[in-house]
């Protein structure tokens, strides 16, 4: 099995790798893992007025998991929280041309997005 060009590109030039300070009010953090392969993914969003102004990730896992989270951060930037909620793992599969055995990597990225959004919303609720 060979990785698609897009996966290789994201793997070699990951976009938005890094992290924000977890405890800041405008940051939402999602940390998820895949028990099948042991991959761990951290995805963070920075939010201003219900819009994601920046996103970062750190993923320790296979090429597809890194590419999925790298792509996810690219897509998240500029989206409203509501739009971000609608990103589906199948969109990632399509864009990266992931083979069936790597679909769980895209599921992981979707889970990470959801977790980051929930974390931010929870923080925003508590502030009110």
């Amino acid at each position: 099995m060979a990785y698609s060009d897009k996966v290789v590109d994201h793997f070699n030039n990951p976009r938005n790798m890094g992290s924000f300070k977890k405890d800041e009010d405008d940051v939402g953090t999602g940390i998820v893992g895949a028990p099948e392969c042991g991959d761990v993914m951290k995805l963070q969003i920075k939010v201003q007025d219900e819009t994601i102004v920046d996103a970062k990730f750190k993923t320790f896992g296979c090429g597809s998991a890194i590419a999925s989270s790298s792509l996810a951060t690219e897509w998240l930037k500029g989206k409203t929280l509501e739009e971000a909620q609608k990103i589906k793992n199948t969109d990632i599969v399509q864009e990266l041309n992931l083979p069936p055995v790597k679909i769980h990597c895209s599921v992981l990225a979707e889970d990470a997005i959801k977790a980051a959004l929930n974390d931010y919303k929870k923080k925003a609720e508590e502030k009110k």
């Binding site: 940390i31 893992g33 099948e36 392969c37 042991g38 761990v40 320790f60």
Partner: protein, 245 residues
Amino acid sequence: MTMDGTQKTPMKRSELQMARSMCWHCQSEITGEYFCEQCVKVQPLSKEMDYFTCLGLPRLLNIDLGALEAKFYELSRTFHPDFYQRKTESEQSISLGNSAMLNTAYRTLKDPIQRAEYLLRLEAGSAKDIRTSPPADLFEEILTLQEDLEAYRSASDQNPAAVARLRDKLTTDRELLEQRQREMDRRLFELFTRWDALHSRQSRTDPASPDFQKDATAVLKEMREILSNRTYLRNIVNDLTATTA
């Protein structure tokens, strides 16, 4: 040409499957285990059959590896494609299918971790809510360790004393993790024994009793948790070993 002189087109595997309780060849009811007693044709193993049943074992986690191997060799001889080269295409296809399933069953049950993962999949239907919550603390810990590892990888040009300190820290971290792995495995094998005890108690008493279900779910859930965490730990330990070795 078949034995009764009629030309038969080879049957598709799905058709062979459906005819399980009936011989796919002579349509008589099957009384023998792997062969039809009427026409002596080999019969396909049912896809629904679980690996324990396939290899003649009870659904336990501490298994007799000698018995497993003996049964595997016996069935391998029974189904091996080499012995079916001069038979019909349908029989060759059954021999191939049965051998493939047998090999997967043996490989899965031989390894204790794969055996436990397989049992969890089998039992997932009866014991609901086996999914456990993600181990948030462990994730945090792994991310921190991975960051330390990255620092070490890119620190080669710094002063040797600092690099050595980082290396010592990572080695200590690895040793502590390996200790936890051993502890996890010990706990896992305890759970194996508990499952087996529950299982034999179940066959003596009422299997549907709520007490049994509760105990079984608790054991399976803890097993699921350990098996998942074990994978995360294994990955980080491998990374640590590869980098600091």
